[in-house]
């Protein structure tokens, strides 16, 4: 598309069962009751001028430009704050209102710089409205009374120029209403009034501003403007695509000048984000052009050699020869691959197809192994399908929201903003988390209950909640009888009713005050609409799958499944975790979650692909590493995942990789895993490819190629090149052909195609003949598996125990500005918010060790040790420490153990027994790793063939 601003109807859409009909300048228009005159006029094609209005914000009535005349009414009311009424006759452009607007515009111009760069660039609504009003100059003295206020250029992505500000409050309201952070305010009065971030001495950077960009998007004048617009100029075209960070799946307009991306602006029609964004998606895309980006294929015979740049053909031939040689010598079981949750559905589907049909083995796994594999197991067992039950909009109908093991304001910020909006409307919140996450108490949001459980006791807490619900007769028996297996429920109810599962008996285990737990259970059971949201604090435990099933039990027991406002909602970490799982990335499942031992399913694929598939499950990632050490696994193709940094027990991962004959890394950068690789295939960013991502609400959305791939090939083309080199006759010419294959082989995707996605904007699977427009809420009329299955989830304590040597429990997580191993975000300006991983410790534990904030500390577990600096905070409970895992210099996973979920081997990142002591420098391992890593990344530049 060419460039034009996104349409704005002035005030938000109103949903109403009744409507009114009015006339705007003589033209009749019918709108939902409660709609503003301004919006009705816009819908009728009569745009009324305004400066303070936006359909992203509630009407404010401040700028006085949108005045209209209404028959039978005195004066000239503001159209933004006047509701449309039946039979109303509105006049938007009478001589009287035009004169009023000219007067108002003259006042605005008097306080607006004549040399406004935004006006010159066409990015200032003042210039537009002045032109619309027919005036060029003001009769008043320009700027005479406006004080000189310096620009605030502290934020790495946008500047604030008070001289251009008209104090319309759009930015302040966007921060309040859209983002929910309340970081901005109007300071001072009259001509001295100005937008202020935080306290008087704060800049945007030092304030509570989270750099979501809502204020920049709302600003009508260029007072708040992206630095990139100032540097590059205004965009001249835009392409709609989908963000490649978290599982919210925001859609953006990539706005370009020529072939250069100027900015990413959240798309108002995006059904996941509704025009909102976070600091990562909005601003942190510069990694695509980072100097570390590798765009040339590279190979080497052994990992102690420098890399040698080669052409694509040589890279494919080098790789194929070694793959085929290993297969001939050691069998297909010696090969395997890992798909990426950052790549598209089509790319992921091809990698698992390459492994199954090309390598001849089911040794394919995905990074979901280390995050949401227990979600797949748990929800398939209880409900019959491996996915969340709701769409994001469902939260707006929730009455009680239970957040367990998730930190949405940091990890899923755009969804968190919607959740906060619902909480501000009066929904109640229960937080179950060892840390006092921001949602527990923040402006205009306060949890009714925060249950700060001991890490590793999720199942015990949920069983105690179930105990209260069953014992006190709060279970929804009618729902259970109709929708679930009654006998299984009876067994479960008898189990949880046992006195040993009461909150009081379990309190010494969970460390949750029994009275709070009882009250929280009652609140949830009596919610009306009770919705559960969870994250990796649920899954990354030795009982991750049990906890997911315990959550499902709780939802079924209280009848909170099968309608809007309720449900079980896994918040997926990466952009396409859901999609990667859907596409058959697990070693035991084909696409659509059909087991490889299912003869009928396998026959379908065998007929389509012309191969015989192995009916036995393959190796999971940790099993691949174990098998590498015993010599039975020798070659690994890793697309878009850095297992050395992200997987637990770094020493073990390194040993496994080192034992392999061939490691193929397909990525944007020479990541930590590439230190142990023999082939590097450069990848393409989300800006450089076509395809689809599927977000946490099962929403399949198009990813559009915005610019040409810097490496020359999209990732699906790289996989196809490799496939052809080992003898597969693949001839895809566009990802739409891959999706067509997915659709014909996968019942839940039967109705999905690029064409349908373009028509509908997005589709939530299942998309079938019975649900051609997709399925926003699942299990409405019955569970996918038939009857909902209650599973008795016994609390089995983790084998990871604290003791005299390791008396503290470490739990890990991520923060707003960074994303997972940081490969992308560390290569953006986001590092200003997080230059290093820090260790959080309670003051009591810090005092005991003589530690204070800023001190270097040595963090040690039975698997390894690292050093990092300390932050003393009561966010964590005594006995618990917390850190992030975004920086390879820290490598928090040197410390984490190989204990994992009993059902899926998802690592137990959230519970590691550690000791923390003062330190005066990096560990021996950190020093040797840094040295090794530097050596491993040498590149010998030779002429390319």
């Amino acid at each position: 598309m060419g460039y034009e601003r996104q349409a704005d109807f002035g005030t938000p859409e109103v949903l109403s069962e009744t409507s009114v009909t009015l006339t705007i300048d003589g033209a009749a228009v019918t709108v939902p009751s409660g709609t503003s005159v301004m919006r009705a006029a816009a819908l009728a094609g009569r745009k009324i001028p305004s400066l303070c209005a936006s359909d992203c914000l509630q009407a404010f009535g401040s700028c006085r430009l949108c005045l209209v005349e209404i028959d039978g009414q005195r004066g000239a009311p503001a159209s933004c704050t006047t509701p449309a009424a039946e039979g109303m006759s509105v006049h938007t452009a009478t001589e009287r209102v035009q004169k009023l607007r000219r007067g108002v515009m003259e006042l605005y111009l008097s306080d607006h710089p004549a040399d406004c760069s935004a006006c010159a660039q066409g990015d200032c609504e003042i210039a537009e409205q002045a032109k619309h009003a027919g005036i060029e100059t003001s009769r008043y003295t320009i700027g005479s009374t406006s004080p000189e206020v310096p620009q605030d250029c502290s934020n790495p992505y946008f500047d604030f120029d008070p001289a251009k500000c008209i104090v319309c409050s759009r930015c302040v309201r966007a921060c309040d209403e859209v983002q929910g952070t309340f970081a901005l305010t109007i300071e001072g009065r009259g001509f001295k009034s100005k937008v202020s971030a935080g306290q008087a001495d704060d800049s945007f950077l030092s304030s509570e501003c989270v750099s979501c960009g809502a204020c920049v998007q709302a600003c009508p004048t260029g007072a708040l403007q992206e630095k990139a617009v100032a540097e590059i100029g205004m965009p001249d075209r835009a392409v709609v695509t989908t963000c490649a960070y978290c599982g919210v799946g925001c859609t953006f307009r990539a706005e370009l000048k020529g072939d250069q991306v100027v900015r990413m602006v959240p798309w108002k029609d995006g059904k996941a984000n509704h025009g909102h964004s976070c600091v990562k998606g909005r601003f942190a895309w510069g990694y695509a052009n980072h100097k570390d980006r590798i765009t040339q294929p590279m190979v080497r015979e052994s990992i102690d050699q420098p890399w040698r740049e080669v052409g694509w053909d040589e890279a494919f031939a080098f790789t194929a020869q070694r793959l085929l040689s290993i297969k001939a010598k050691h069998g297909a079981g010696a090969l395997g691959g890992i798909t990426s949750s950052r790549c598209t559905n089509e790319e992921t589907f091809l990698v698992q197809k390459l492994v199954r049909a090309g390598f001849g083995t089911n040794n394919v796994d995905t990074c979901a192994r280390v995050c949401h594999s227990p979600t797949g197991y748990g929800l398939k067992t209880t409900f019959g399908t491996s996915a969340g039950t709701q769409d994001f909009d469902s939260v707006m109908q929730a009455d009680v929201i239970l957040v367990i093991g998730a930190n949405p304001t940091d990890a899923h910020p755009v969804f968190a903003s919607r959740m906060k909006r619902r909480l501000k409307q009066g929904a109640q919140l229960i937080v179950i988390d060892p840390r006092r996450i921001d949602l527990v108490r923040m402006p205009h949001v306060e949890a009714a209950y925060h249950l700060p459980l001991q890490p590793g006791t999720n199942v015990a807490v949920l069983t105690a909640m179930a105990h209260v619900i069953v014992i006190e007769g709060l279970a929804d028996e009618a729902f259970i009888r109709e929708r679930c297996d009654w006998d299984e429920y009876s067994d479960w109810a008898a189990y949880v009713s046992d006195p040993r599962h009461s909150p009081e008996v379990l309190e010494p285990v969970t460390r949750v005050p029994a009275a709070d737990l009882r009250a929280a259970a009652r609140l949830f059971a009596n919610a009306g609409n009770g919705a559960i949201y969870y994250g990796l604090g649920v899954t990354e435990h030795s009982q991750g799958s049990s906890t997911v099933m315990a959550i499902a039990n709780l939802a079924m027991a209280t009848g909170n499944i099968g309608r809007a406002g309720v449900g079980v909602n896994p918040l997926r970490g990466q952009n396409n975790v859901q999609g990667a799982c859907d596409m058959g990335s697990f070693p035991h499942e084909l696409s659509g979650y059909r087991h490889v031992s299912d003869d009928a399913a396998r026959a379908l694929f065998e007929a389509d692909w012309g191969v015989v598939l192995d009916p036995e499950p393959g190796l999971r990632i940790p099993n691949m590493l174990d098998a590498a050490l015993d010599g039975s696994f020798r070659a690994l193709y890793v697309q878009g995942e850095d297992i050395l940094q992200s997987d637990p027990n770094t020493h073990h991962v390194a040993a496994g990789l080192k034992a392999m004959e061939l490691v193929i890394v397909h990525d944007l950068f020479l990541n930590e895993t590439a230190d142990y690789a023999h082939v590097f295939l450069p990848g393409s960013t989300f800006l450089e490819k076509d395809g689809t991502f599927t977000n946490a609400e099962r929403r399949i959305q198009l990813v559009a190629k915005v610019i040409e791939p810097a490496n020359g090939l999209e990732d699906w083309q790289v996989t196809q090149g490799l496939a052809r080199a080992i003898g597969l006759d693949w001839n895809y010419t566009h990802p739409r052909e891959i999706m067509a294959e997915v659709a014909r082989l996968t019942p839940s995707f039967a109705g999905v195609s690029f064409e349908r996605l373009a028509e509908e904007g997005s589709l939530q699977w299942p998309v079938t003949a019975n649900a051609p427009h997709g399925t926003p809420v699942m299990h409405m009329d019955g569970f996918v598996r038939g009857k909902g299955k209650f599973v008795v989830t016994d609390y089995v304590p983790t084998d990871e125990k604290t003791g005299p040597r390791y008396p503290l429990l470490l739990t890990t997580g991520r923060i707003l500005s960074q994303y997972n191993v940081g490969a992308q975000t560390r290569r953006t300006e986001n590092v200003v918010w997080h230059e290093e991983d820090l260790l959080e410790m309670h003051p009591a534990d810090a005092d005991l060790r003589g530690l204070k904030s800023g001190d270097w500390t040595r963090l040690a577990s039975r698997t390894g040790e690292t050093t990092l600096r300390l932050t003393v905070t009561d966010r964590v409970a005594p006995g618990v420490v917390y850190t992030t895992f975004h920086h390879p210099a820290t490598q928090a996973n040197v410390v984490t153990t190989e204990y994992s979920d009993w059902a899926t081997n998802c690592p137990e990142y959230k519970v590691t027994a550690v000791q923390v002591l003062p330190s005066n420098g990096p560990t021996e391992w950190q020093e040797s790793y840094a040295s090794w890593s530097q050596k491993s990344r040498r590149i010998t530049v030779e002429p390319v063939e």
């Binding site: 079981g333 089911n362 040794n363 189990y495 030795s542 009982q543 049990s546 070693p587 035991h588 087991h595 031992s597 036995e616 499950p617 393959g618 190796l619 999971r620 099993n623 174990d626 098998a627 050490l629 015993d630 039975s632 008795v792 016994d794 089995v796 084998d799 190989e898 009993w902 059902a903 899926t904 081997n905």
Partner: protein, 69 residues
Amino acid sequence: MDLARLHHMANQIARNFAVQGDEAAIVATLDHLKLFWDPRMKAAILAGDRSGLEPIAQAAVERVAGIQK
């Protein structure tokens, strides 16, 4: 494959099914091994010393052996 690690995995699976009662837990553990373990993992646990297995896991592994015979 590291036998101690396989034993730990099998025992962990069995412990989580133990609440169902011995026979049901043995069947569930057996099914889990069949559905999710790569053949070389099953072969390794069958071939190795089983003294590190707890009773439910041991019974399940013996049934795997019986099926493979």
